[in-house]
Amino acid sequence: MAVDVKSGILPGGPGEGVEVLVSGSADLATEEMLLNIGPQHPSTHGVLRLVIALDGEMIHSAEPVVGYMHRGFEKMAEVRDYRQIIALVNRHDWLSAFCNELGVVLAVEKLMGLDVPLRAQWIRVMMAEWNRILNHLMFLGSFGLELGAMTPMFYAFREREDIQELMEAATGARLHFTYNRIGGLKEDLPRGFMQHSAALVKKIRHRMDDYAGLLLGNEIFKQRTVGIGKLPGSVAKEFGCSGPILQASGIAEDSRKTEPYLTYDQCEFEVPIGVQGDSFDRFNVLFQRVHQSLSIIEQVHDKMPAGPIMPGKMPKNIKPPEGWIYARTENPLGECGYYLVSKGGKEPWRLKMRTPSFSNVSMLPALLPGNLLPDLIAILGSVFFVVGDVDR
């Protein structure tokens, strides 16, 4: 019995009731086994579901089923004013809340032609980079856990705790920062923040050696990841994969570099790229990105100007002029873009969220077939995604 998964057998979930095509003959020696990985599975980071057809442990086809976390953010954005949208968008990718806010704020500011004070821009760069490290640490840890090494996860949370403490000092929140405002920031940095931040950069840089020792330098880790799930750059581009996944496939695309926003053009950093786009490269790129972010933060410490954090004169109600704009930022997980259509009201007419995880996950059916079940986990863990970011 062979079951055609492409036709979509999705009982009990979104898409239930789709017809199942059953074909093939009964005298086959082995049969394909249809298996649900997720939504309640230890290694799908939430409620992603994969319907996979297995022959033994070989994957014949895989179809992601999303929508368990669909919250209708795009519809909600149409009935909220711009201040509220800042608090709304930092929720779809909860691991990179600050970077999400940044995208919306940049879009609105550009549409309105607002000039953001320099200090606010530099603080935004610093916070975005801290947020990037916060996000990457999560995946550095969880990828190890998925391959059976449990220690990196705990180390990652130890470091995340430190960073969250730092960001909490400035923003007052640990997960959904809501620190951006249209035109600037909620408030200035607290006293002693820069010293705290500088000390933490040294600490994290030192502790990154732990991960290098436990994972990157580990022979078994290499055995499990090198050459597994090779993603050619052309396929990655076609599916719109971005961030570490695109870079691991050898394409140095990073909007901080190619289309600098904020003050990234005044920072020196490199875009790490991989060679063959396998799981190891993806992990390695993620690892190197943390080091690049740390170096950016150090540069921010040196270059931070004094000054206001909000423009002197701001309209009471934010009403961007009629028009449309696409603003992209390099989020921790890849290109996060907001396509904003305004009709001059205090609410956007349409806010399309182009999230990195959505494109990354949509690529999975092309990448997974032909791999073994244990490799599925090694691939899934290295195609970094957050389910909330897929479903929005």
Binding site: E57, L147, G148, T151, F221, Q223, R224, L376
Partner: protein, 335 residues
């Protein structure tokens, strides 16, 4: 006074039936306590290696009673048998897994001069044979659950048996050649001059690696890989049946560490200069160190893939083991 106690000893304790009973109680008692100790040490060791505290509440002092609390909890848990499962096999599978784990302790010597339940003259052979019966229980559990993850786990467990059993046997065979006996106390006694880890270092490494695979411990925990197949053959088990599997795992760590320390680390034989420490403490210490290494590996390594284990076993471990036997034979005959 001494005379009286000696009289009592001869009258009661020396009675064969009492000794018979004591042996059984001792083995079962050991089976129930040793895994608890190893389990607790694992909790705490992993916790401290991972920059956290581990159990701290149960029993006030550093959570020493955590596993007892766990045991009490397990026995109070609802017992769920899936509707789709083969109920009879599903129920007896934990028993099939656990009873052999008790029997292994039967032949392990814990010191010189009778610190063992029985000195079987095929001791090593018995220990290795009986400990691989657990795999049958594992297969039974995985198959009877009618769960895809369990089935994959059981199939992986069987594949694992194929990979580790031969290196384990061949490494042991080299030690047997050197000692000229199959009895575990005999092998320990034969190491009075030097420990076999020196001439049989390759065998020792093979034995440890193969034991890890037999125990399904990281880096060879593919049959229960929790991030891939939930918990392998144990996925559908709850309550006391699940506890049996866990108990077996930790008992296995103790028994295989003890056997390895008898085969390669001289059993109760002391190191020079500190000979005043009694034999049983030596063997417990060596077992403890080996168990600690097993736990340590869990904090350090990711897991391999099943085909990588096969490749490693057939392309490296078995040829090395055969070479080891050959060299040991030549060594024995020439010297």
């Amino acid at each position: 006074m001494i005379a009286v106690s000696q009289q009592i000893f001869e009258q009661y304790i020396n009675n064969v039936w009492i000794i018979f009973g004591l042996k059984i109680v001792a083995v079962v008692g050991l089976f129930l306590t040793a895994p608890m100790v190893v389990g607790y040490v694992e909790h705490k060791t992993l916790a401290h290696m991972q920059a956290r505290l581990g159990p701290m509440e149960a029993g006030k002092f550093h959570g020493w009673a955590q596993l007892i609390a766990d045991g009490v909890k397990f026995i109070q848990k609802e017992d769920i048998t899936p509707t789709a499962a083969d109920k009879f096999v599903f129920t007896i599978a934990p028993g099939i897994v656990m009873v052999p784990a008790i029997l292994v302790f039967f032949v392990v010597p814990f010191g010189p001069n009778g610190w063992w339940a029985e000195n079987l003259d095929v001791g090593v052979f018995f220990a290795l044979a009986i400990s691989s019966i657990s795999v049958i229980g594992m297969l039974a559990a995985g198959w009877s659950s009618a769960n895809k993850f369990s089935l994959i786990g059981a199939v992986r467990g069987a594949a694992q048996l194929i990979a580790y059993e031969l290196p384990l046997l061949l490494a042991t065979a080299a030690v047997v050649m050197q000692a000229g006996t199959l009895s575990l106390p005999g092998i320990a006694a034969a190491q009075s001059h030097y420990w076999y880890v020196l001439p049989q270092f390759a065998g020792f490494m093979l034995f440890i690696i193969a034991s890890l695979a037999e125990l399904s411990r990281p880096p060879f925990d593919m049959p229960i890989a929790d991030s891939e197949i939930i918990f392998g053959h144990m996925t559908e088990y709850t309550g006391v049946k699940f506890a049996f599997f866990l108990l077996t795992e930790y008992a296995g760590i103790v028994s295989l560490s003890a056997i390895a320390s008898v085969l390669f680390l001289g059993g109760w034989q002391p190191l020079p200069l500190i000979k005043f420490v009694p034999g049983p403490l030596w063997i417990l210490g060596k077992t403890g160190i080996l168990s600690f290494i097993v736990i340590w590996l869990r904090a350090t390594y990711p897991r391999l893939r099943e085909d990588q284990l096969q490749k490693m076993a057939w392309k490296y471990m078995i040829p090395i083991a055969l070479l080891d036997i050959l060299l040991t034979g030549i060594f024995k005959v020439v010297f």
